[in-house]
């Protein structure tokens, strides 16, 4: 009998090399039972490589990866029965209907007691159960993929970029399904490059950039640690305002249409800025004060790497 580990997933100094490319560079992390763990990073950061090594479909170059305390390179047969996977760019047999596809996968797992209707319900596919795979939209395909990932009632569900390429509405519909999973207490390993997605769903977020984990923690912790400020935006300001704020020792940034953005450390600072503007007899049309979100943390942490990637994508 294999000893059941304290953590469902344990990754230690994992490295994966494709020829000259170091896709994953010595990363370590653990995933607790019942948590939603999000791997957040730009394209090409090493998210899919990592998740596919854990899913047993790729082999690591070095390092140790265990699932339920079992080495993924040695216990593939046992592990796959206990996990559910939505691979990146999930696809299935074109001419097979939604219901038949779920049935097929449940047979692969030799599951006689899979409740197909419940899965169809969970993935919100009731109206589409007789539709062939090729006729489904991107969002429906992903939802079917999630339903399939659950046929064996897995202990861990891996979702590799479940909403990439979906329109905002379809994305929200997938999120609804994922929130349902979270409610059921499933351990979920999610990879995404959408900050909102990680912020909405994840208990723990690991930000990965160029094969390294650059930060890890709950979304709140990450924001607290990496972006502990308030963003104040003043709209349609007088020309004088920029100078006034600058003289107070802040670093205002001129945005478009006479808007000014200022980062302040404390809520009192907001009052101070407003008072100073009032005292100088200057005016503005409206203001907005906001705590930074994960996006700002992400951009800050993945900064240089992300900007370079973006420049490359634009160039292409």
């Amino acid at each position: 009998m294999t000893k059941e580990a304290e953590h469902t997933i344990e990754v230690e100094k994992l490295t994966k090399r494709y020829g000259d490319l170091l896709a994953v560079n010595g990363i370590s992390f653990t995933v607790r039972k019942g948590e939603v763990f999000a791997f957040l990073g730009p394209n090409g950061a090493g998210k899919t490589t990592t998740v596919e090594i854990i899913e047993t479909i790729r082999t690591p170059t070095s390092g140790k990866v265990s699932l339920f305390g079992m080495d993924v390179t040695k216990k593939k047969r046992k592990i796959v029965r206990r996990i559910g996977v939505l691979p990146q760019g999930f696809s299935s047999f074109d001419r097979i209907t939604v219901r038949e596809t779920i049935q097929y996968h449940s047979r692969l797992f030799n599951c006689r007691n899979t409740d197909i209707d419940e899965l169809i319900e969970l993935a919100n596919l009731k109206d589409k159960s007789k539709e062939q795979f090729k006729n489904l939209s991107g969002g429906l395909k992903q939802r079917l993929g999630i339903a399939i990932a659950l046929v064996n009632n897995p202990e861990v569900v891996f979702l590799d970029e479940p909403t990439t390429g979906l329109d905002p509405r379809a994305r929200r519909e997938v999120w609804d399904v994922l929130l349902g999973l979270k409610k059921k207490g499933k351990t979920v390993f999610l990879t995404t490059h959408y900050m909102e997605e990680a912020e909405l769903l994840a208990d723990t977020v690991a930000i990965i950039s160029r094969g390294h984990i650059v930060a890890m923690g709950s979304p709140g912790e990450l924001i607290e640690k990496n972006a502990n400020y308030l963003a104040l935006t003043l709209q349609s300001v007088d020309e004088k305002v920029f100078e006034i704020v600058q003289k107070m020792g802040f670093e205002p940034v001129n945005a478009n249409h006479n808007n000014i953005k200022v980062r302040v450390q404390h809520p009192d600072d907001v009052q101070k800025v407003l008072n100073a503007i009032k005292d100088a007899g200057a005016s503005f049309l409206s203001l907005d004060v906001r705590k930074p979100n994960l996006e700002e943390v992400f951009l800050k942490l993945t900064g240089a790497a992300f900007r370079e990637d973006l420049a490359r994508e634009v160039a292409q």
């Binding site: 596919e52 996977v85 691979p87 990146q88 696809s91 692969l108």
Partner: protein
């Protein structure tokens, strides 16, 4: 091996098949159309050069006269063969498709008929022919009308010259009977080859294989279910080919246990080749192109549409290294000549080939992404 998993795969494959109308067409209607088209074309083939051999057993002035008349006919190109040799054996050895034999009593019968007005005097001119030849039927038809003309000139009933046909093969068979085993072998080959390429390259490219590799299905189960699916479809297309050839062309073929044996070996051999191809050519398109490059020479050079003997010598040698040649030969040996020895020999050759490529194919096909 899990029967439940294999069963699940078979169900998915069959459903995908009958919902894809073009697949149904190419798998069932296409070979049937080939049979109809080629069967009809070769049945009424019109050959411009009517060359054949003549053996004059009579060796008299009258028989020489007849040979000369034949020679003078512009349609014919005649080569004489020595009367002392066995014409049937000679035709077999030299692969001649028609030898016309003038009988020993030709002159004496002619004298009886013409001078003594004996209406019962007649001769039988024998056509020793190879029924697998596509042009021989036309040659014999033209010869028949040639002799009919002579009969007409001599007038009176019964006719003086009666043609008789002797096949150089142990059993008489027609082009359609030659053609049907070839089409069965070809259809099974094409479908197995492209089936394997499709399953392994296209589904991999689409990501279906990646998903399957995260389920308990084993590689062996997956390949076995695909082989079984190909076999099942091969049975269906073979049956439809046979039905059409019986119904439309009244083909006469022997059906025995060799037919399923060769169909199975054909499936294994070409699924194996398909798997190797998809390993060599990673993209679905290039794998399909490679499959075409394998399929076409196999289709035309291994004796599917016409006998290998019709090709130049170096191509005949080449055809003997093509696996489909042995399926064709084996199927013909069993379905036409009921020659178990040749069928056995061919099945051993194709069996060894199938085993090697199939094992290689299984070894080279990997699900893991590396």
């Amino acid at each position: 091996m899990s029967p439940r998993v294999i069963g699940a795969n078979l169900i998915v494959s069959i459903k995908s098949f009958y919902r894809e109308k073009t697949a149904v067409f190419f798998r069932i209607a296409f070979p049937v159309i080939l049979i109809l088209v080629f069967g009809t074309i070769f049945m009424n083939q019109d050959n411009v050069r009517f060359d054949f051999y003549v053996q004059d057993l009579d060796g008299t002035n009258s028989s020489a006269e007849l040979v000369k008349t034949l020679e003078h006919n512009e349609k014919f190109k005649i080569t004489k063969i020595d009367p002392v040799i066995d014409a049937t054996q000679y035709a077999r050895d030299k692969k001649l498709n028609l030898v016309v034999v003038i009988p020993k009593d030709y002159e004496s019968s002619l004298i009886k008929r013409v001078k003594r007005k004996d209406l019962n005097a007649s001769v039988t001119i024998t056509y020793i022919y190879d029924p697998s030849s596509t042009s021989v039927a036309t040659k014999m038809q033209i010869l028949n009308s040639f002799f009919a003309e002579i009969n007409q000139k001599m007038s009176g009933k019964p006719s003086f010259i009666t043609p008789a046909e002797v096949s150089i093969l142990n059993r008489k068979y027609r082009f359609i009977e030659f053609f049907v085993p070839g089409i069965i072998a070809m259809t099974v080959m094409t479908a197995s080859l492209f089936g394997a390429v499709n399953v392994n390259a296209e589904l991999r490219q689409k990501g279906v294989i990646k998903k399957l590799s995260t389920t308990p299905i084993t590689h062996t189960d997956w390949i076995l279910s695909n082989v079984m699916y190909q076999f099942l479809l091969s049975v269906i297309s073979t049956i439809s080919i046979l039905l059409v050839s019986y119904a439309v062309f009244d083909a006469s073929l022997q059906l025995n246990f060799w037919l399923p044996v060769f169909v199975v070996l054909d499936v294994f051999a070409f699924v194996g080749i398909g798997m190797i191809l998809t390993c060599v050519a990673k993209e679905a398109e290039s794998a399909a192109a490679a499959a075409n490059a394998i399929m076409f020479p196999m289709m035309f050079l291994s004796g599917t549409f016409f006998p290998v003997e019709m090709m130049p010598g170096f191509l005949q040698k080449f055809s003997r290294i093509l696996p489909l040649y042995y399926v064709n030969e084996g199927l013909r040996a069993s379905m036409i000549f009921v020659d178990n020895m040749i069928a056995l020999r061919c099945s051993v050759i194709i069996g060894i080939f199938a085993a090697v490529v199939f094992v290689l194919g299984m070894m080279t096909t990997k699900w893991e992404e590396g």
